[in-house]
Symmetry: C2
């Protein structure tokens, strides 16, 4: 079992070794390990060596000059200068929050960034300010639009965090595909089949092969097929792509650079790096925060008490599972997959950092 | 075949008869008939008599004092004063646009309104200003959250309109359910079955009975079931509900009043009327509009040319189907369902308005 502080310190020390400042290394480690804490193991320390390999390939800048290149009272475009998305994300979200303090809301589109960890972590920064937080990002193309065999969109997640009073916050955080890639990786490791509607093969046929996307196939947009409204998942993924990258000047669609160092970015980029989009809305820009939060408690309470289907689980509020996981893992620690442990140990050995 | 002008004039005259001002009657008729034009027949003149019956039941105010009750430079809450959503919607969206002119973006949450027609029409108001438009609304509860048998959410649509340069605009407009209620109504009329994943029966079992939601069952959130990520559709519907109603002070969840006059609103309201949420983002609050729109053309062109699955349709851009329908119907007119014609004729007779 591993504890939060141990993995945070290890990650932070690795980020320091590749040249990050103290502040950036702390921010990056906090975002990275928050994914493990919340049970999104695919986005946590399992990816640490991937970030380092991208830095080794000179595709991540460990000492970026992250700056606003255009702004209005409620908007900004941030140039991430090729930095870690784990660092660029919190800085851009903080700018959205500051703008919301001034004019009610703040909206920041980011270019020239990299993978930013879990979407929800950034959105949740708004909560302590009694703001609604929004976070989305584009990502390497893995998803085929409805009717296509081509991978043109990433799993492009959307996160929305909404504060409540006595109830815990509402925190939705989801890929705009039927299944996040992390869920497929779990099936791949267990050599299990995927439900129909998660992936298609390279000819565009429905398949239960959990490895289909690695064999020329694609992940499917939320909905799965046309009859079940995959055009809606495709539209959602497209909106995330456009807000994150066409608004900011990042790469979009099939031009988004891959997260892995062994694949080269497209030779004909249409922008810089990958893109994110952040929003912050001050609750009291609409109605008194106490009033809003009291009604959120009522909303949450009513949905939590909804009548359930016999023999099924209780109705959940978005964020329930991750919050319970976080409490459990903070207290008792958690196990890592054997391959991840080996990977971290090799990384530690290479850089002289103790796990 | 019916022509646009004929149905617009008829609808406008009916709205005048129930006491709407000239300006309000024009706005309402334009929004209403735009749904027919775009092929969303369920939201067009088929609903005209429904609005009148709600007015007869004193649940719609034909002479509302629509006003801003709270604002910041980038936000407002609008009180619709019980008016037609068809009238409140464009006024609130215009306020969002004005705020975007001033500070980059504008965000308006609306309470005390009624059904506002098709979501996309309002979002598209932003396009001529080189802005991105966003429109969403809550609605009478028909949808069960994942694991529940209770109808706690409406079909809560989201629309996002994004301008391009030479390409037509990107206009996504979709219910956050697998299928909009209008699609079920078509199956009901044809006495056909629904695909699994659209509805469940009153015990929460999957069913192909297209009438299930009328028999105590529910529509299902986008995704359909837990294995296909209905929790994501549920989260989207919940976000629409909260932005539209908890932010503004409208009714939310199961407290949203029904659109039909023969059902009474809940006796314990938690707010006023139904709620909407509008957003406008000036493209040049992020980057020069020409640059953005040129990249949107590139985005759209690339997706439109995507390789297709053999024997399937071409890849579509959100809004393609509705735009082609609009061009066709503007030119040649369109047919109405027999029941709708009878309904309109009866309405015309009652109010002395010629169809």
């Amino acid at each position: 079992m591993y504890k939060y502080q141990q993995l945070y310190d290890f990650s932070r020390n690795i980020f320091l070794k590749i040249g990050c400042s103290e502040a950036h290394a702390s921010a990056a480690a906090e975002v990275l390990v928050s994914a493990d804490l919340r049970g999104v193991d695919s986005h946590g320390v399992a990816r640490l060596s991937g970030y380092v390999r991208l830095w080794e390939a000179k595709r991540i800048n460990a000492q970026p000059n992250i700056r606003v290149v255009h702004e209005t009272p409620s908007t900004a475009v941030v140039d991430g200068d090729g930095g870690l998305g784990l660092v660029v994300g919190p800085i851009a979200m903080q700018i959205a929050i500051e703008k919301a303090k001034n004019v009610g809301t703040g909206w920041v589109s980011v270019k020239n960034s990299n993978h930013y960890g879990i979407a929800g972590k950034h959105a949740m920064m708004a909560l302590e300010h009694d703001m609604i937080g929004i976070s989305m990002t584009n990502a390497s193309p893995l998803v085929a639009p409805t009717f296509s065999t081509e991978r043109l969109l990433g799993t492009n997640p959307i996160a929305v965090a909404i504060p409540a009073k006595n109830q815990p916050a509402f925190v939705a955080d989801f890929a705009t595909t039927t299944a996040a890639n992390g869920k497929l990786e779990i099936l791949q490791r267990k050599q299990q089949e995927a439900p129909l509607g998660w992936v298609q093969d390279k000819e565009g046929n429905p398949t239960t092969n959990a490895n289909a996307a690695k064999e020329g196939g694609s992940l499917l947009p939320l909905g799965g097929d046309r009859e079940h409204a995959s055009h809606k998942g495709y539209a959602l993924g497209a909106i995330v792509d456009i807000f994150s990258a066409v608004l900011s000047g990042a790469n979009y669609g099939p031009w988004v650079p891959p997260f892995v160092a062994f694949l080269q970015p497209p030779s004909d980029p249409v922008g810089e790096g990958i893109g994110h989009f952040f929003g912050a809305m001050r609750v009291d820009a609409f109605r008194p925060a106490e009033e809003f939060k009291t009604h959120m408690d009522n909303w949450i309470g009513r949905f939590r008490e909804a009548k359930t289907i016999p023999n099924q689980e209780k109705v959940l509020i978005p964020g329930d599972i991750e919050r319970e996981m976080e409490a459990e893992r903070l207290k008792n620690g958690w196990g890592l997959h054997e391959a991840v442990i080996k990977d971290l140990e090799a990384l530690g050995e290479k850089w002289g950092v103790r796990l």
